[in-house]
C-alpha cells in the first residue's frame, strides 16, 4: 500500500463526526492546560484518562494525543506574557519572549510562535508518516534481546541527555522499575512485595502513581507560590500581531532548524520536547552572527524552540506506535489507553489496525489546524484565562484527580496510592530527584523484565546473546557510549564549577 491510500484510510477515520468532536475537545483542553501554569500535560492526561474508557480506542487516542500537542501551542502564552513557563518545554521561550512583551511586541511574539508551532508540527507529522511504517517493518523481526536493548537505550538516553544529574536520573529509573515489580510475577504468578495486601497482588495503578507524583505533588509545590500577573496591558488585537518584514526574514531558518532538531530528538526514546527546545535555543545562539541580541527579545530565540517543541511532540509517536516502546511518560499513558481496550501496541499495530494508526496520524493535521484557529483570532480569550487566581484553580484540579482515580477501579485503595505518591513526589522535589525517569522506569520495567528473562531462557543463561545479535549489539554499544558520555560530561561540569569557585575565592 502506498502512502496516499493510507492517507485516505486515515482521513476517512479522522473525519467522522465523533472523532472530529473529540479531536477538538482534546486540543481545546490541551490548549487550556498549557495556558494555565501549574497544571502539567501529564496531570491533564491522567485526569481525563478515565473518560477514554467510554470511547472507542481510536477516538480515545485522538483525544489524548490532542491534549498532548495542544499544550505545545498553549504553553508559550504564559511564557511570553508573564515570564512563567506554561509547561517545561516552553521554559526557554521566556528568555526572549518576555522581553518582546516588555517592548510592546507581545502580540507579534504570540502570532509568530503560532506559525512556528504549526510549521514544526507539520514537519513532525510528515516525518512520522514517512518513517513509522519503515521502522515497524524492521521491528517485525525483533526478538526479546532486541526489545530489551532498545528499552535499556531509551532509559539511559532519557537519563543522560536531559538536564540535571545523570546519576540521579538513572537512580530514579531503577526506583521506578522497582515499583513496577509490585504485583504477580509474570512467569510464576508469585505475588511480589504485596505484604499480604490483596490490592497489591495486582500491579500498582499507573494512573494513581502518575496522578500522585505529578498532579498532587505539583499542587503541593505550587500552592501559595504563583502570583497572578498583570496581562491587561498587552495588545493582542489582529493589527498588533502583524510582524515587520525584518522579523519574518529572521524567522525562516530558525524555524526550519528548530523543526529538524525537534524531529530528531522526538524520535529518540527518552528525550522529548523539553530537551529539543533547550537544544535548539542553544544552537540558534551559536549559529547567530549577533548572539548578544539573545535574551533581549530576539525573534530567533522564540521561533526555533517553539518549532522544535511541536515537531518533537509529533515524532515522539514514532517509537511509540511502531515499536510499542513509549519514549516518555505521556506516551506510556497513550499505550496504556490502547492496552485497556485490548489492543497490543507494537510493530503489527499498523497492519492489524490501519484505520486506528492512520486515523490517529491524520487527526494530527486536523488538530493542528484547529489550534491555529484557536490561537490567532481567539487569543484574547486565552490571555484573559491567565488572570484566574490559582487558589480557585487547585481545589478543582485535586477534585478531578480524586474522581478520576476513583472511577478507574471504583476503589478507595487507589486514593491511598495517590496520597502516598503525592507525598513521595513532594519528597523527591525536596531531594532534587527527577520524577519523569521514575515513571518511565515504572512503565518499561515489567516489559524489560519479561524480555530479559525470555532472552536469557532462550540463550540458556548466556549474557552474550545481547552482543551476538547485530541489532541488539549496535543498540547496546550506543547505550554504553551514552553512559560514558554522560559520566564524562558530569565530571567535566564539576571541574569547571570547581575552577570557577576557586577563581572567585582568589579574586574576591
Amino acid at each position: 500500500m502506498d502512502i496516499f491510500s493510507n492517507m485516505a484510510i486515515g482521513f476517512s477515520t479522522a473525519l467522522t463526526f465523533t472523532n472530529l468532536f473529540y479531536c477538538f475537545i482534546g486540543v481545546f483542553l490541551g490548549m487550556l492546560v498549557g495556558v494555565i501554569p501549574g497544571i502539567g500535560v501529564l496531570s491533564a492526561i491522567t485526569m481525563l484518562f478515565p473518560i477514554t474508557f467510554y470511547l472507542e480506542p481510536t477516538t480515545a487516542l485522538i483525544m489524548l494525543a490532542g491534549i498532548w500537542y495542544g499544550t505545545g501551542y498553549g504553553g508559550r502564552t504564559a511564557s511570553i506574557l508573564l515570564n512563567i513557563p506554561g509547561t517545561i518545554a516552553n521554559a526557554v521561550t521566556c528568555l526572549d519572549g518576555y522581553p518582546m512583551t516588555k517592548q510592546g511586541r507581545g502580540g507579534v511574539a504570540l502570532f509568530m510562535t503560532t506559525v512556528a508551532s504549526f510549521v514544526g508540527g507539520s514537519i513532525g507529522i510528515i516525518i512520522l508518516m514517512l518513517f513509522a511504517p519503515v521502522i515497524a517493518r524492521y521491528a517485525l523481526s525483533f526478538g526479546s534481546a532486541e526489545y530489551f536493548s532498545l528499552m535499556l537505550l531509551g532509559l539511559v538516553a532519557a537519563s543522560t541527555i536531559s538536564e540535571g544529574s545523570a546519576i540521579k536520573a538513572l537512580a530514579m529509573v531503577v526506583l521506578g522499575i522497582m515499583f513496577g515489580c509490585i504485583g504477580a510475577d509474570i512467569y510464576t504468578g508469585t505475588p511480589r512485595f504485596s505484604f499480604g495486601l490483596l490490592e497489591l497482588t495486582d500491579q500498582l495503578s499507573l494512573i494513581a502513581l502518575a496522578m500522585g507524583m505529578f498532579g498532587v505533588a505539583e499542587v503541593i509545590a505550587t500552592v501559595g507560590k504563583i502570583e497572578v500577573g498583570d496581562v491587561g496591558k498587552t495588545n493582542v488585537s489582529m493589527s498588533a500581531m502583524k510582524p515587520t518584514r525584518d522579523e519574518v526574514r529572521r524567522s525562516w531558518f530558525p524555524m526550519l532548524r528548530g523543526s529538524s532538531l525537534g524531529a530528531f530528538f522526538g524520535t529518540l526514546p527518552g528525550t522529548g520536547p523539553s530537551v529539543a527546545s533547550f537544544m535548539s535555543y542553544a544552537l540558534e545562539k551559536r549559529v547567530s552572527s549577533e548572539p548578544q541580541r539573545f535574551g533581549k527579545g530576539a525573534i530567533e530565540g522564540i521561533m526555533s524552540p517553539e518549532a522544535a517543541d511541536n515537531s518533537a511532540e509529533m515524532t515522539s509517536f514514532i517509537p511509540t506506535l511502531s515499536l510499542g516502546i513509549p519514549g516518555s511518560p505521556t506516551m506510556a499513558l497513550m499505550l496504556g489507553a490502547l492496552m485497556i481496550h485490548g489492543i497490543a501496541p507494537g510493530p503489527s499495530l499498523m497492519t492489524e489496525q490501519p484505520s486506528l494508526f492512520w486515523g490517529l496520524i491524520m487527526s494530527f493535521w486536523i488538530g493542528n489546524v484547529i489550534l491555529v484557529i484557536l490561537n490567532v483570532p481567539l487569543i484574547g480569550i486565552w490571555v484573559r484565562l491567565l488572570t484566574i487566581p490559582y487558589h480557585l484553580l487547585y481545589p478543582a484540579v485535586l477534585l478531578f484527580i480524586c474522581v478520576g482515580t476513583y472511577s478507574v477501579n471504583t476503589s478507595s485503595f487507589d486514593l491511598w496510592i495517590v496520597a502516598f505518591f503525592g507525598f513521595f513526589g513532594y519528597m523527591m522535589r525536596m531531594l532534587d530527584w527527577p520524577a519523569a525517569p521514575l515513571l518511565l522506569g515504572f512503565v518499561l520495567g515489567p516489559l524489560m523484565e519479561e524480555h530479559f528473562r525470555r532472552a536469557m531462557l532462550l540463550s540458556r543463561g548466556d549474557f552474550a546473546t545481547f552482543l551476538d545479535r547485530p541489532i541488539s549489539a549496535t543498540v547496546i554499544s550506543i547505550t554504553a557510549a551514552l553512559l560514558v558520555w554522560g559520566i564524562w560530561s558530569a565530571l567535566r561540569a564539576r571541574r569547571i564549577a570547581n575552577q570557577a569557585a576557586m577563581e572567585q575565592a582568589t579574586t574576591g
Binding site: 522497582m178 481545589p395 495517590v418 507525598f423 522535589r429 532534587d432
Partner: protein, 149 residues
Amino acid sequence: MLTRDYRDIIGGALLIIGGIAFSWYAAHQYDLGSLRRMGPGMFPMALGLVLAVFGLMMMVPAFFRAGTMPEIRIWSPLFVLSSVVAFGLLIRSFGLVPATLAVTIISSMAELRIRPASLALLCVSLCLIAWLTFKVGLGMPVHMFRWPF
C-alpha cells in the same frame, strides 16, 4: 550555603538503605532460580543492588562540595494530602457531594489563609461541575448523596 551538600548525602543514604532492604527482602522471600531460568526474586534482587550503587555514587561526591537546603513546608502538603484521603474515606459511603466538599474545604486551607466568600462560591460551583461532568455527562455509577447508617 552549607559546607557539605546534605541534600544529596541524605538522598544517597536513603537510596542505599532502600536498595539493600529491597534486595535482602527479595532474596529471602522469593525463589532466585538460576541465570537460565530466573525465579521471581532474581530481577528485584539485582535492581536493589544497582540502586544502592547509584545511591553511593550520589552520596560520596556530596561530602566534598557545598550545597543548599530547600525550604520544607509542612502544613501545605499536609492539607493537600489529607484532602485526597478524606475523599477516599467519604466517596463510597457518603457519596460525591460530601466528598467534593471535603476536598474543596480541606485543600483550600493549604493556602494558610481563609477567604470565606470565595470558598463558599467555589464549593457550590465545584459540586455543580462534578455533578454535570461525572454524573450527567459521563454517567458514572456514583451516588451524589448517601446515608450509610
